[in-house]
Assembly symmetry: C2
Homo-oligomer: 293 residues x 2
């Protein structure tokens, strides 16, 4: 089946969904009254970025049989949390990055105090946003627990302090499943929940997004290792040089590539029972895996 027939009549394209997502994010950013904070929030949430998390939320909402736009508040909630995590991760006391998406990081552009407050505000705006979602309490639990996990993952990545008895590979997976995987899984689950998913659909979404969430970070590690800074829009090879645990560092380049193939299989299997409505999720899985080949 080719791309033309796959784009079913009436199914919005990724570009159309991204326009809706950016419109929603802009409305949220415009509620900020403090001038510099409003500019910083706009810089962090709307300049560059692929909107993967809200796109997943909207596609999983459709998988549950609902209009994808129903998941806009939930999806944008996860995107704002993602933006907050990047702003704080870039701070001097954490990853100390000066460039992000080809632009100065928020603390470089606006100063460190606004950098801290901008991340804080992105988080509270995320939670405000989901109040208008269907099934708001379930979405609130998905968003808050994924955020807790993301922050703990960042702490394991930056400060160690692992539970006892974990070997290097287990520590690596603990970091990645929490730091990156939790928000991707949470966004997919929250989108499905907003769309009224039944237990069986939610279980499939959970398995698919757990695999893709981990794959996401393995791919990121691989690209960090193999691509130039210019191509990435940020410093390359930095994580490995900083002595951080990475998939290629622990499993080798070939081992990391094999992990991507294994996770792609798990992800596709989770979607096996779905018809064409799952095509955008299958494409996303494939496109993500393809980046490492």
């Amino acid at each position: 089946m080719n791309t033309t027939t796959r784009q079913a009549v009436g199914r919005p394209s990724d570009a159309q969904l991204r326009d809706a997502i950016d419109g929603h994010l802009r409305t949220i950013a415009n509620t900020v009254r403090h001038q510099q904070l409003q500019e910083a929030v706009t810089h962090a949430a709307l300049q560059g970025g692929k909107r993967i998390r809200p796109l997943l939320a909207l596609r999983c909402c459709a998988l549950a049989g609902s209009d994808p736009m129903v998941a806009l508040p939930a999806g944008c909630g996860f995107e704002l949390i993602h933006a907050f995590s990047l702003v704080h991760d870039d701070l001097p006391a954490l990853d100390d990055d000066e460039m992000r998406r080809g632009l100065p990081t928020v603390h470089k552009a606006f100063g460190e105090s606004i950098g801290i407050l901008c991340g804080d505000l992105l988080q509270s705006l995320a939670f405000e946003t989901i109040a208008s979602s269907p099934h708001p309490m379930e979405v609130l639990l998905e968003l808050s627990r994924a955020t807790n996990a993301m922050i703990e993952g960042q702490a394991w990545d930056t400060d160690g302090g692992f539970p006892e008895g974990l070997d290097e590979a287990e520590r690596l997976e603990l970091i990645h499943r929490n730091k990156t995987g939790a928000l991707i899984r949470g966004a997919a689950r929250a989108g499905a929940i907003a769309g009224g998913a039944d237990d069986s659909t939610l279980d499939c979404v959970d398995r698919w997004s757990s695999a893709v969430g981990l794959m996401f970070q393995v791919v990121d590690d691989l690209l960090d290792e193999t691509q130039s800074s210019e191509h990435l829009g940020k410093a390359a090879g930095k994580d490995r040089e900083a002595g951080k645990l990475t998939f290629p560092g622990v499993h080798g380049l070939e081992g990391a590539r094999k992990t991507v193939i294994r996770l792609e299989d798990v992800a596709n299997e989770a979607l096996a029972g779905f018809s064409e409505v799952a095509a955008p999720l299958r494409d996303l899985t494939h496109d993500l895996a393809k980046r490492t080949r």
Copy 2:
């Protein structure tokens, strides 16, 4: 009427409520898996502090005719946001404080990266907590909007960037109503909402807590100006020395004291229609005002 008769049969004391609040906060802190983050969250949320915000929430819940314990999740949500705001305000890039409540600040005790992540996690824990409140969506809006306002107030306090046309007194009130007032007002409103308050009760709670929320910061400014560091458990006179707008700085000591008296009147008037159930709120207003005499 003396204190003995005022302590009506069956009405829990502040100490009893604080025990319940601390028990709830401890349960939340114990859900954190990362060892150092768990210690930092416990340090920030449970070492010292008066639990004013959750106490207000519980007392306003009772004012609405409900068991005060019904407001534990909402009250603790506001206390966790308060704790997060202190941890981030103390960071080197913001107020750069080394002592808080007579102990080292979180970033001094645990390092700056854990300081940032601990504040972030206190915020997401706050939002997770309120999922178990009655009327959760209304409480979510109170908590998120008060948090937005608190962060913007902090930005005005630290980085300026005021709306055009405000004189010094108006700038000062903008800072204080947002930085300190919003969480106090929000906690009181959320407690009343959790208790099922009708519109008229919520309106009284709103007027009382708006006055008390501003009074709180005026009293804090007065104490910062007139008391020793040892008595305060933090550096005294620091805000004025840093060139920040304070009530005594803008209105003089006498002007600030008169503002306290005026706000006490507004607060008492808002509670005029209530019987003995409002006694703890009247006591709190009185005790707060008394600290400046």
